[in-house]
């Protein structure tokens, strides 16, 4: 088994074990989506209108909260030092960790999004498209969040600092994700353009995120 695939398997195993947090993100997503009707009122029309936005915000916050753990546990037990001094390029190692994070934290969000959409009265026909926008957009959230995670582990400050750093950078993803999801509900008006840009953002962050995160780790932890 090559080094990168071993790293991927290891990260996924750690994430799904007790104390990991793979399903914790999905649980948080569920709770946030449940709280919104308490806040805005149970008017089904209103919920249908803001449903995609709530799903996107919930997914954003859920993936953000799990990013803390991405590097923190490795930093504490020394595996981050091993990764940084190993033969595998740090950019690739970091990208593989992000992929493992996406598979274990964000995929469950995409899977339960249609169920939560039911609670928010999102149109059934559009539910699949909304989940598709989440599937295409959550990689961008993960890889942009990777930069914030690397920056905050270098400074050993977790929590809200990570959110403050990452959220402004994820605003374009949120804008186009919700635009695509809304377009799917209004009978596919401009779903194509918004969705394509969303995919472009994911692909771009797939490349740039690991580079910036590796630079942050190298310079911050030297």
């Amino acid at each position: 088994m090559s080094a990168l695939s071993a790293l991927l398997v290891r990260d996924m195993r750690v994430a799904v074990r007790v104390g990991g947090g793979a399903l914790m993100g999905a649980l948080f997503f569920l709770i946030v989506v449940t709280m919104v009707p308490f806040a805005v009122g149970p008017d089904l029309n209103l919920l249908a209108r803001i449903g995609p936005a709530i799903l996107w915000l919930g997914a954003l916050l859920a993936s953000l909260l799990a990013l803390d753990r991405l590097f923190a546990t490795d930093y504490e037990d020394g595996s981050l030092d091993l990764l940084m001094t190993g033969r595998v390029p740090l950019e690739l190692a970091v990208a593989v960790k992000a992929i493992a994070h996406w598979l274990t934290t964000c995929l469950p969000l995409v899977v339960i999004a249609p169920v939560l959409g039911l609670m928010l009265n999102v149109e059934l026909s559009a539910m699949g498209w909304v989940a598709l926008t989440l599937l295409a957009g959550t990689p961008a959230l993960t890889f942009i969040g990777l930069i914030g995670a690397a920056l905050s582990v270098a400074l050993r400050r977790g929590g809200l600092l990570l959110a403050v750093l990452v959220l402004p950078l994820t605003i374009p993803v949120l804008i186009f994700g919700v635009a695509a999801a809304d377009a799917a509900i209004v009978a596919g008006a401009s779903f194509g353009p918004a969705f394509t840009i969303l995919c472009a953002l994911s692909l771009a962050s797939l490349v740039l995120g690991p580079i910036a995160a590796a630079a942050a780790l190298r310079h911050g932890l030297e």
């Binding site: 930069i147 403050v164 950078l169």
Partner: protein, 245 residues
Amino acid sequence: MAVIDIANPTRFLALVNRLLPWLTAATLLLFAVGLSQAMHAPDDYQQGATVKIMFLHVPAAWLGMFGWGLMSIAALGTLVWRHPLADVAGKAAAPIGAAFTFICLITGSLWGRPTWGTYWVWDARLTSVLVLFLLYLGVLALYWTAEDPGRGARAAAVLSLVGAVNLPIIKFSVEWWNTLHQGSSIFRMGGPTIDPSILRPLIVMAVAFTLLFVTLHLAAMRNEILRRRVRAMRLMQAQALAEAT
């Protein structure tokens, strides 16, 4: 004295101490000229006297973006060329740029109320400048929460480079999207479309504000170098105390 000598903090401090009085005087002089020109500038045919908010709003916007550009170049100096004073330059520029961006947002909002009828609108230009302000706050958070100034500076340098992607988005936002904010009227193909009687005070005020930025920036760099020296001396004192007992 070659340019490279400025990399030495002591020589840099000596240079700043010599330059700062002249820069301060030049800034005050240009502000005097600019403000008097601004007061005598004609009213806009549509907006009346409210157009004069532009003499504050536009330079603040330019300098907010200039601040982030300066931080990005300083970031390159920190990460790539390992210039000794690059991280000091970046850390000094962040609060000043953030302040100018904040002034831009506030004056723009106050200008929008009488002319557009609203204090705020989520169009591309306003949103991207707000994102710039949030990025500034993020960089400031990195500087303030780092225990080790050098490490915090390097992390902030990475964030400065990542956030630099926002600058062309701000510049071209009025062209790429339908915005309530007006399009480019100065830096555009075909030259400025503002009447010279208003453009001239604007340029003078912009130069005055730039000199203000440079003056404040050099003073802030001096303060940061002195602050680090104080910190180093405190650490040495604490270590001496610990060894004595």
